[in-house]
């Protein structure tokens, strides 16, 4: 197991090199000159050239990339072109907000969606099941940012129960953003849980369990559910990765001080070091979550675990 973990952690290195390289190259293609951006429209060409040399922008791209990677290994992500602040400290300040929001919304959606999925499967084709499935279809079809706007309109502006935006009002600040992000995920988790439960509650081993004299509920929760968990864990893992990198629209709507909003601001300002910094942190988080999910498979299913050895 430990060997497997080390192997997986090492395998993250090429992934990160690939991602940074890709992002670096794309930023090269983007129009606009950082030096011109910093100095403003009125700077003379000589001044711009001088700054470019200072910033190392005159060197070949590969040299620039190599220099960036060497610094990255030392924990130095460079400075923002715009604010001149350290990228590392800026990202470190924003990341916890994104992570917290992601975890809260994932926890809420898991806690609601899994029981719903199980009950819907057990009561297949009843009103409860149909209602759940229609609602989750709505949930999947509704864009998160639209949902966010509607929530703000109703609960913040009309009813005045919850803050419109920002993260400075304790748990109240988390309610609307996590619902906006979590609703779609909840729908997907419920549907996945339901469909894999439908499969497992018909398995022979559930019948065997019942034949031992245990209750219907323990047969379903103790035998069918653990076997149905793997697809659900896969979905949750992908979602969590998405939440860390992809809550851009929702963070923008709620003016959430997280990575998603930082990356939008940085792209608008062509703040290359900041964009790169955000991308690196997001992709590392994504890889780590993937690793955790894979390790969870091993815990959930001994057959997978024996393949690691």
């Amino acid at each position: 197991m430990i060997r497997y973990m080390i192997k997986r952690l090492l395998a993250m290195i090429p992934v990160l090199i690939g991602i940074t390289f890709l992002v670096f190259m794309i930023m090269q293609l983007a129009p606009g000159d950082p030096a011109r951006l910093i100095l403003g429209e009125n700077a003379s060409p000589e001044e711009v050239k001088e700054l470019r040399e200072q910033m190392g922008l005159e060197d070949p791209v590969l040299v620039q990339y190599f220099r960036y990677m060497v610094n990255l290994c030392k924990g130095d992500m460079g400075k923002s072109y715009i604010t001149n602040r350290l990228v590392a400290s800026e990202v470190a300040a924003r990341f916890p907000y994104t992570l917290k929001l992601a975890l809260v919304s994932a926890a809420v959606s898991i806690l609601i969606a899994i029981p719903l999925g199980i009950i819907a499967a057990v009561k297949q084709n009843t009103i409860f099941d149909n209602t759940c499935m229609v609602l989750s279809l709505v949930g999947i079809s509704m864009p998160a940012f639209w949902m966010a706007l509607m929530l703000v309109l109703v609960f913040s502006l009309r009813l005045g129960w919850l803050p419109v935006q920002g993260a400075n009002m304790g748990w109240r600040s988390y309610v609307l953003p996590s619902i906006a992000i979590g609703f779609m995920n909840m729908a997907a988790i419920a549907r996945t849980t339901r469909s894999s439960m439908l499969e497992t509650i018909r398995q022979d081993y559930v019948r065997t369990a019942k034949s031992k004299g245990i209750s219907n509920a323990s047969a379903i929760l103790g035998h069918a559910f653990p076997n149905a968990l793997i697809p659900t864990v896969t979905v949750v893992g992908v979602q969590l990765g998405g939440l860390i990198g992809g809550a851009v629209l929702t963070e923008t709507v709620f003016a959430w001080p997280g990575l998603g909003r930082l990356i939008v601001q940085s792209v608008n300002a062509r703040d290359v070091p900041m964009i790169l910094g955000c991308m690196v942190v997001m992709s590392v988080s994504f890889s780590v979550i993937n690793l955790v999910v894979d390790l969870l498979y091993g815990l959930l299913d001994p057959r997978v675990k024996s393949m690691y050895a």
Binding site: Y205, S211, G213, I214
Partner: protein
């Protein structure tokens, strides 16, 4: 015998009717089936796939898949008590404790993500809450050793065992609460022949040791000869012939029973051709009128197509449901059936 009284029989099924209803059709899985298993006896329930053998077993367990499966009538007396009138709570007590079932495919009848000792412990704990955790585990390990699996393998998972070993685990689980009756649903069909013999031997030993009654559901007459005291031959959801092992093997009467024996290759006469029964089992959602076997029967008469045959007894428990024997009991044995 009076219904509800303490009887000498572990299991008595009377006129059981089970249907599966789907939107399109009604499948008549079990049609007025009656059978009896004496205390400590093994009854072989023999028939082709689709004859309703498994459904009968599941009905005794109260595990007919709902909502499609419906028990329409009849009585299932376990130690004299009708399980069809038990509440869910009472059925929970009965399953595993009074009657347990060994299922056909050991590959799929064990939970792949739970260690085998936990799966056995669960059965023990379900019927004895007074035991501590370690006592339960101890008992589970004893059961494992009894079926020939070392106790230190208890923490392993089903995928780490071979098919035969898995079936041993299932047997350990079924016996863990010393049930009065075991329903073994083709327990060796999914296993290699050599392993089959081992598992059957084990089941026989354990059954004798615990004086358990057993219903051996199988389509294999060899297994019946090996393990059973009496035999019920099942066709299209009801019993067509019943008798002791000797009655049925030495003197099969029903054309279907004869057909089953005719379908077996013989070692003593290797030139003899197999004589398979012509045709297929009737569609259980569209059973023929009269005797359900007449479309495949070489001796079918007009009466067979219209009237259901009644049992004709031939001394002891041996009976046959066939019109060929119905008219004149005295002359029945001399009916020439071309063999």
């Amino acid at each position: 015998m009076v219904i509800g009284s303490q009887s000498n029989n572990t299991l008595e099924i009377r006129d059981l009717v089970v249907e599966y209803r789907t939107r399109e059709r009604v499948v008549h899985a079990v049609n007025s089936l009656s059978l009896t298993v004496g205390r400590g006896q093994t009854l072989g329930l023999v028939g082709e796939t689709g004859a309703g053998k498994t459904t009968t077993g599941l009905a005794v367990m109260g595990l007919i898949p709902k909502p499609a499966g419906v028990v329409l009538g009849g009585a299932i007396l376990l130690n004299g008590e009708d399980v069809l009138h038990k509440s869910d709570r009472e059925m929970k007590q009965i399953r595993g404790k009074t009657v347990s079932m060994i299922f056909q495919d050991p590959m799929s009848s064990l939970n792949p993500v739970m260690s085998i000792e936990r799966q056995i412990s669960e059965a023990i704990r379900a019927h004895d809450r007074s035991l501590t955790r370690s006592q339960v585990l101890q008992k589970a390990h004893e059961m494992l050793e009894m079926v020939g699996i070392p106790r230190d393998r208890g923490s392993e998972y089903p995928h780490q065992f071979s098919g035969g070993m898995k079936q041993r685990v299932v047997i350990a689980m079924a016996l863990s609460c010393k049930p009065d009756l075991i329903i073994a649903d083709e327990p060796t069909t999914a296993l290699d022949v050599t392993i089959q013999a081992q598992v059957l031997g084990l089941m026989k030993d354990l059954k004798d040791q615990y004086r358990t009654s057993m219903v051996m559901i199988t389509h294999d007459l060899g297994i019946v000869a090996e393990t059973c005291d009496s035999v019920s031959v099942m066709y299209a959801g009801s019993i067509v012939e019943h008798g002791t092992l000797h009655d049925v093997f030495d003197d099969p009467l029903h054309p279907y029973t004869k057909g089953l024996f005719g379908s077996l290759p013989r070692l003593d006469d290797r030139r003899a051709k197999l004589q398979p029964i012509k045709g297929l089992m009737p569609d259980p959602s569209n059973l023929p009128t009269g005797c359900t076997f007449w479309p495949r029967c070489d001796h079918a008469k007009d009466v067979c197509r219209v009237e259901k045959p009644n049992p004709t007894y031939f001394g002891g428990e041996h009976f046959v449901n066939c019109h060929l024997f119905n008219e004149e009991i005295s002359g029945a044995r001399t009916v020439n059936m071309g063999d």
